[in-house]
Amino acid sequence: MSKCWAIAFAVVWIFRQQDPRQIVEEAQKRTTSQSQRYEGTLQVVDAKNKITEKRWQYERLGSYGSSKSVLRFTAPAEVKGVALLVINHTDRASDQWMWTPAINRERRIALQDRSTRFFGTDFSFEDLEERDTDQFEYKLIGEEPVDGSACWKVQSTPRQSKVSQYTHSYVWIHKNNFALAQIENYSKDQLVRRAHYTDIRNDQGIWTAHKIDMHDLKRNSHTILTIEKLQYNVPMKDDAFSLQALRRES
């Protein structure tokens, strides 16, 4: 009897694992934390291999769907203090504001502008948003290794309600730890951006990629985001994630 139960459990587990929505949700669940803080380095490598570097400090409070985050540039000097405040909502697109200390004012990043490049990098504003699984349809394409590691390949297609520049994306998720391995974003049938997640480490029980290489295939340029000094579940105040706080701290 117990053997039967064990077989039945294994079958359910296998099926459960192969439900693409469950895979994605599990991947999100495993990276859930109360808060996150890191220092990031952005290296933009253009088509002529010229490299420009920016540094930022990132703080997030809350988890998927209802998180708030602040990304504050720390270098070079020309952009120091410029900040991006993102407030995610479960039922609608996030609100985003940019704070420019030199003119002491904020600007709202309109929904229509989310497809544009994120301040000269190869990320778009949309790429910085959290993905609400309810806004996408998922389809398991199969298994495909990335960097020699077994991964699930899941196709995600935005639902009609979701405004996206991408018609569909392919997401590779490591089978061993549910960490993201790669995302390919398509516009119609053309691959426009590819994010490659490497240097995956276990930080406080959360498997996190410390290096994300976003490749803009149209521009033939790529941006490497290197994450340092990563901390999860750091105590943070809610009121630090507001426009007033940005003004105060500028």
Binding site: V79, T100, P101
Partner: protein, 850 residues
């Protein structure tokens, strides 16, 4: 064609000089027409091109007049589901401190989303520093310039450009160079792009935008998108295609375009009389030839066709040369006009390209030919009716028959009566203009008879002054009035135009002077721009107490003015501090009383309009004016109509409190400053300059400077018209040369006999001179008379169709006094050549003539 070759060509070769002079009339007329219209088109084209180039793929633009609107409107527009992309824009012309570069068009845009609408086509798009929006946004001194501008001024990325902003002269850093395509071509390449929020600070916009550029979603039609935005914003916002801005610009220039068309038309009419004169003379000269042809069997229509063909040829050659000259003139006129327009309307236009429209040039040539044919029609018809027997009798034709003279007088009387009748019905546009045309026609019909009459009056005077030469000259005029009358008519028309324009200018200057005395009476003005019509840069209201606290300052009045669209016409809304204004300004009321209109306007219960506004929009006291504002339609009744010259499209005065409430804006363009009694204006002015130093870049202009600037502006505005008048007079003077040349040829034998019987060369010379000056005198008398009538109609036309200005009729006596020596001197100069040619001619040849 054979007749043309066998008869016309040899005649032309014999009288080449005269034909050149005849053609000069057409050349000048067509040249002025082509040059003026080409300049006009070039400016419109430059404006449209700039709008198109700046618009990029913008399909619709949301605006609320020149005042702009609060930036919160952007989110309302972006929330409209039909809107694909909506980006805010600030547009201003800013002076550069780079030598020789003048002003540049600065476009404040939001780089985070604007690339969806405009392709900036960076010169080196792969360069991360250039193409780094984050640095661009983070540094408020960031500027993108065009490749042309950068090359012209040897600028590179990170070079500095000094610009005069509201915060003073400030150095901006070039952080991008746009390639030479698309938007970068706008404003002749003198274009810079800056971050919109930096532009708000540097250009004194507060938290306002000038407009929002929109592209609809792919699956939505433009009309659907437009309707949806209108529904979301209400009727106070204009939601139009970018091309609609061209219509507004056109509206501003309508009166100037119309004035130019009228003066080039006058030049052509004057030219027409010269042609008529030349052909009439040619027919007289060739009457024997025509008689022989008729005797040999040539039909009347063949003779008529011959002369018509000659006129077509003359018209074609003259027009082609005129078109060429016009093209050469167009560039200079375009540049001159664009400068005037920038200074008068506040619309800066850099016209780098003169647009030659083949249709316009063809139209100019066609008008030249048509004028020539029309002018030659009557002489050609006369030629076809030549009696072969009469044709051999010398001088017969030049005498105006009594019957013909009587017939003309009757016709003139009838035309004159009809014209006076039209005057009673002049409330109708049709009757007004019909009356005008008929009155001019009556003048022209009477010209030959009056020429004869005046010649006869002059005879005894001339005889007394110089018995021999005076009598001979007067007799020449009396014996051949037909020869003289066309030239006199041309001169009369030119002078009528001079008196009309001169009178209008004089009336305008007088009214303006009175207005400046009444309204422009502060001791000095504080403005963000040396050019008071430039409204693109404003300053905050906090400047008022700063100035007020300066020792010696009695009162500060803030003024904010900008154009808004009223019934699709741009009108100037002027927000003033009514209570303060009432104590210092005494505007001339056209309707209502000053006290009541000030009380109601100050209380926000009404508005005051200029007489031009009332006239253009046919509005009266008590009528409600609906002004679009960002807070909705502001509806206020007219509580007063005043004489005002602030704007030619009409002005509307509201109280500043109403403006700040409805437009949610407390900025100002100008501060009117009054100095306390007994204080030295210069000293107080310097104190104000010192108080403002380091705060905002504000200029302190004295009352005299502002008045001189306005007068200079007006002088420039009228200068082009004066140039056209000069052309018309030149054409008329050419007519005098022509007439004298013919007169000399006609009297070659007579003058030869005079010399043979002992007439001195000086006597011959003086005879010709006196004849020319007499033509000038007759032209002056008739021109002044017709000019007095023309002035009446010109003022009516100005009031009715060119700006609604109700100007008093003031006859330009000084103008006429200036014209007397000018015309007489011109007539004298015109006589020098023909006179010298007579006395140097062989006596034998002269006696053999005919």
């Amino acid at each position: 064609m054979m007749l043309l070759r066998l008869l016309s060509w040899p005649y032309l070769r014999r009288h080449l000089l005269r034909w050149i002079l005849t053609l000069a009339g057409i050349v000048l007329g067509v040249a002025v027409f082509v040059a003026m219209h080409t300049a006009n088109r070039s400016i419109f084209h430059a404006f449209d091109t700039t709008v198109d180039q700046i618009a990029g793929s913008t399909q619709l633009q949301v605006s609320a007049g020149e005042f702009g609107f609060d930036e919160s409107i952007l989110e309302r527009v972006q929330a409209v589901p039909e809107v694909g992309v909506a980006v805010p824009v600030i547009e201003a012309t800013v002076e550069t401190k780079i030598l020789g570069q003048g002003s540049m068009l600065v476009l404040g845009i939001d780089m985070t989303g604007d690339r969806s609408l405009r392709d900036y086509e960076l010169k080196d798009a792969d360069d991360a520093i250039i193409d780094d929006p984050l640095v661009f946004l983070a540094q408020p001194d960031s500027l993108m310039v065009t490749k042309e501008f950068a090359e012209r001024n040897k600028l590179e990325v990170n070079s500095k450009i000094p610009l005069l902003t509201i915060n003073g002269e400030k150095e901006f850093t070039v952080r991008g160079v746009m390639s030479s395509a698309g938007m970068a071509q706008a404003f002749g390449g003198n274009l810079a792009v800056m971050d919109i929020y930096a532009a708000q600070q540097e250009l004194g916009r507060g938290r306002r935008f000038d407009r929002i550029d929109i592209r609809s979603k792919d699956d939505v039609t433009l009309e659907q998108c437009q309707a949806a935005i209108k529904a979301a914003l209400g009727p106070t916002f204009e939601v139009e295609a970018p091309s609609a801005r061209g219509r507004h610009f056109e509206g501003l220039l309508r009166s100037y375009s119309a004035a130019m068309s009228i003066s080039s038309l006058f030049a052509l009419i004057v030219g027409m009389f010269i042609i008529y004169n030349s052909f009439a003379i040619a027919v007289t000269h060739r009457r024997a030839e025509i008689g022989i042809l008729r005797a040999l069997g040539a039909t009347r229509s063949q003779i008529q066709r011959l002369f018509i063909l000659e006129s077509v040829t003359a018209g074609l050659v003259g027009s082609a040369i005129g078109a060429g000259v016009g093209i050469l003139m167009a560039s200079a006129i375009t540049s001159y006009m664009s400068t005037i327009l920038e200074q008068t309307t506040g619309f800066a236009q850099r016209v780098n390209e003169v647009v030659f429209d083949p249709k316009l040039i063809a139209a100019g040539i066609a008008i030249g030919i048509a004028t020539s044919v029309f002018a030659a029609w009557i002489p050609a018809r006369s030629a076809s009716r030549v009696d072969p027997v009469q044709a051999l009798q010398k001088g017969k034709y030049q005498v105006l028959s009594a019957g013909e003279n009587r017939r003309r007088r009757w016709m003139a009387l009838i035309v004159c009566l009809v014209s006076i009748g039209c005057l009673f019905l002049s409330y109708s546009k049709l009757f007004f203009y019909a009356g005008y045309v008929l009155m001019i026609a009556a003048g022209l019909l009477l010209a030959p008879a009056l020429t004869l009459l005046l010649s006869k009056i002059l005879r005894p005077i001339l005889k007394r002054l110089l018995p021999a030469e005076g009598t001979l000259a007067a007799d020449s005029l009396v014996q051949a009035p037909r020869r003289t009358s066309a030239t006199v008519s041309a001169l009369m028309l030119s002078l009528a135009m001079v008196v009309g324009f001169g009178g209008f200018a004089h009336s305008f200057y007088t009214a303006l002077d009175e207005w400046m005395d009444n309204a422009l009476n502060p001791d000095f003005f504080v403005s963000a721009s040396a050019n008071l019509v430039a409204r693109t840069i404003t300053f905050p209201a906090e400047m008022s107490p700063v100035i007020q606290n300066v020792p010696g300052v009695d009162q500060v009045q803030l003024v904010r003015n900008a154009r808004v669209s009223f019934r699709n016409v741009p009108v100037m809304v002027i927000a003033v501090e009514t209570e303060k204004l009432a104590k210092t300004v005494h505007r001339t009321p056209v309707a209502g009383t000053s006290a009541e209109m000030n009380r109601l306007t100050g209380a926000g219960q009404g508005l005051v309009v200029s007489d031009t506004f009332a006239e253009i929009h046919k509005m009266r006291m008590g009528d409600t004016v609906e002004l679009p504002s960002p807070s909705g339609l502001l509806r206020l009744p007219i509580v007063g109509i005043v004489r005002d010259f602030s704007d030619m499209q009409g002005s509307v005065f509201i109280d500043r409190s109403v403006y700040t409430k409805w437009w949610k804006d407390d900025t100002a363009n100008v501060a009117r400053v009054y100095v306390k009694n007994g204080e030295d204006v210069g000293t107080v002015r310097q104190r104000v300059i010192d108080a403002l130093a380091g705060r905002h870049r504000l200029l302190v202009l004295t009352n005299r400077e502002v008045r001189e600037w306005i007068i200079k502006l007006l002088d420039q505005w009228f200068a082009l018209t004066y140039d056209q008048i000069a052309v018309a007079i030149l054409v008329a003077v050419l007519g005098i040369v022509n007439t004298l040349t013919v007169s000399i040829t006609d009297r070659r034998r007579e003058l030869g006999v005079m010399q043979a019987v002992g007439g001195l060369r000086n006597q011959i010379r003086r005879t010709i001179w006196i004849e020319a000056v007499s033509i000038g005198v007759i032209g002056l008398v008739l021109g002044t008379g017709l000019g007095a009538i023309n002035l009446y109609y010109s003022l009516g036309m100005v009031k009715r169709d060119l700006g609604g200005l109700d100007l008093a009729y003031i006859f330009p006596v000084a103008f006429v006094f200036v014209m007397v020596p000018t015309i007489l001197a011109a007539a004298f100069v015109a006589a020098i050549g023909p006179a010298e040619s007579v006395i140097r001619r062989s006596l034998v040849e002269a006696l053999e003539y005919e």
